[in-house]
């Protein structure tokens, strides 16, 4: 049963990954990419790493891919023109693909013949979330916190780079608006007939 599910899910992942590259319309590419992410989450559930699967869906599908889709929809990129110089990068591309393939091969070979430790994300006792938190907050607390600080700095950098103050933009000042009294806004004038307001 698990094996059947694995083959169905993994063939969907491979096929959709292929369509990410092959699709002519960039929006379709992103949609295929989302399908690939989602199905990989299914694969993670299959090996018992349900917490990681949910994180994959929340972070990648729910947030990152939405932004991808956003940008790709808004930009009117001429992808035909972009693909013109495709052949120039062919060699580098093939090299990269071969490197990745070799890395996967090394990992699989080490797991199959090396007899080293096999990874089981769910060794029986505590649930996923508890096991992860035991590792993150007990064994590697300092490293985890340092990662957080690095991310914080990166976020601040992004804000500093993109923030520009535009004095010409009109903004609503809510405190000022709600703090307005009748006498600030309305003034009664006693107008004499035929003379107008002085």
């Amino acid at each position: 049963m698990t094996l059947i599910a694995f083959y169905i899910l993994s063939s969907i992942v491979v096929a959709s990954a292929l369509f990410v590259v092959a699709a002519r319309n960039p929006v379709h590419s992103v949609l295929w990419l989302i399908l690939a992410f989602f199905t990989s989450a299914g694969l993670l559930v299959l090996i018992g790493a349900e917490f990681l699967a949910m994180l994959l869906v929340v972070v990648y599908v729910g947030a990152v891919a939405v932004l991808f889709l956003f940008v790709v929809m808004m930009l009117d990129i001429d992808f035909v023109a972009l693909k013109q110089g495709f052949q120039n990068y062919l060699v580098i591309g093939i090299l990269l693909a071969l490197t990745l393939l070799a890395e996967i091969g090394i990992v699989v070979a080490a797991a199959t013949f090396g007899g080293g430790e096999t990874f089981n994300p769910n060794p029986g006792g505590p649930t996923n979330a508890e096991a992860l938190s035991n590792v993150l907050y007990d064994d590697y607390l300092l490293l985890f916190q340092m990662c957080g600080i690095v991310l914080l700095v990166a976020m601040m950098g992004a804000i500093v780079l993109t923030l520009r103050s535009r004095p010409s933009v009109k903004r609503q000042n809510i405190a000022q608006q709600t703090g307005r009294k009748r006498k600030d806004a309305v003034e009664l004038k006693d107008v004499r007939p035929g003379q107008g307001i002085p």
Binding site: L69, F70, P126, A131, I174
Partner: protein
């Protein structure tokens, strides 16, 4: 997963049973939603001193079914410039995602299609996917108003997800588990134990409940945050080009996710299927009767929250877009972040005494007390709440007073 297969008598029996459960849930849910739709319209009508739909059936009870037939029999119009596949995929995705979320909702004690250990995260993940139906529908229509509506909606839903996530974290910190049934068990025994009202945390959790409620309105594009379909600006937003069944799917999907949010509100903050005041002697009743009673209590709570949603739509005027973003990022996000810190500190300091005791008993550090470890001590009966022969940290913590 394994349990399900053995319980239903082998693999195929298990699958058949699961399919039956899913079918029953979906059919009952959709029928309930047909009547909730009517209820919704009746509430607005009452607020505006009208009668509301009253022609089809007694008191207009069959109005939703008449609407269903009308929608299904109409012609499906697909604009010539539309991207056909994505155009038709969008409403299907919306409806499917809305229904899929119900898989982990425990409607009564033990009545749940999939009792996931990461149930709340699953719900959060599914509700964050809801944006795709809208953004795809807006883009595939190949028209200006739907596209603008889709973009607005995507930005709005992504923003409010953040505060919903933090509010959920505060509840999880109090419970110590991601399983929704555990969340409900934690609120047992009267409304003074519900997360929204439990004593020392009420000062944080009640505001969190309010934030969750408002964020749920924004997340489901309900008024006063229905900017994606603000008719004065965008005609009908992402739904402009949709007609007949695809439109119907969008509408049902929207209502299913609204009711899902109501269910989450009652599960996370209002004790799920527990009565507001415990009735003495009720434990002696047969189990199925208790479950049925729990189901009705749960449905009552969901209907109450749905009534609140309808009243908000009837009373509150629509927000402007910059006000909406300001509310989400500048008010809700900092407030819920501070609440997470406070609740985390509270949870740490109130449980500080029980943790060493548990770790002393848990000699092999597996995170749960198994049979060999339990031989040394006698713990009070009823501590093993899920009756699996193992006492987890959650079960231990809840009864910590009895142990010490």
């Amino acid at each position: 997963m394994e349990n399900l297969f053995t319980w239903g008598g082998g693999m195929w029996g298990g699958i058949g049973l699961a399919v039956l459960q899913i079918l029953a849930l979906v059919v009952i849910l959709l029928v309930c939603i047909a009547f909730l739709l009517l209820f919704d319209r009746k509430v607005w009508a009452a607020v505006q001193l009208r009668k509301g739909p009253n022609v089809v059936g007694p008191f207009g009870l069959l109005q939703s079914f008449a609407d269903l037939i009308k929608f299904v029999l109409k012609e499906v119009v697909i604009p010539a410039g539309a991207n056909k596949t994505v155009f038709l995929l969008a409403p299907i995705i919306t409806l499917t995602l809305a229904l899929v979320g119900w898989a982990v909702i425990p409607v009564a004690p033990g009545w749940v299609v999939a009792n996931l250990n990461v149930g709340i995260l699953y719900l959060f993940a599914i509700s964050s996917l809801g944006v795709y139906g809208i953004i795809m529908g807006g883009w595939a229509s190949n028209s200006k108003y739907p596209f603008l509506g889709g973009l607005r909606s995507a930005a709005q839903m992504v923003s409010y997800e953040v505060s919903i996530g933090f509010v959920i974290v505060t509840v999880l910190l109090l419970v110590g588990s991601l399983n929704i049934s555990d969340v409900v068990h934690n609120q047992e025994g009267g409304f003074w134990n519900w997360h929204a009202f439990a004593f020392p945390t009420i000062f944080v959790m009640f505001p969190m409940f309010v934030i969750f409620f408002i964020s749920a309105l924004a997340e489901t594009n309900r008024p006063p945050f229905d900017l994606p379909e603000a008719e004065s600006e965008l005609v009908a937003g992402y739904q402009v080009e949709y007609s007949s069944s695809p439109y119907l799917m969008f509408m049902i999907g929207e209502y299913v996710s609204i009711v899902l949010m109501c269910a989450m509100l009652s599960l996370l903050f209002f004790g799920g299927w527990h009565m507001p005041v415990p009735i003495p002697g009720v434990e002696n009743l047969p189990e199925w009767l208790l479950s049925l009673g729990g189901l009705f209590v749960f449905m009552g709570k969901v209907t109450f929250f749905f009534f609140l949603f309808a009243m908000v739509k009837a009373i509150v005027p629509r927000y402007r877009y910059d006000q909406l973003m300001r509310l989400g990022w500048k008010i809700f996000l900092p407030t819920s972040l501070v609440a997470v810190v406070i609740v985390a500190a509270y949870a740490t300091f109130t449980n500080a005494q029980t943790r060493p005791g548990f770790e002393q008993l848990d000699t092999n550090k597996s995170g749960a007390l198994e049979a060999p470890e339990l031989t040394a001590v006698t713990l009070p009966s009823g501590m093993d709440r899920d009756k699996d022969g193992v006492i987890s940290w959650n079960e231990y913590r809840r009864n910590a007073g009895a142990v010490n």
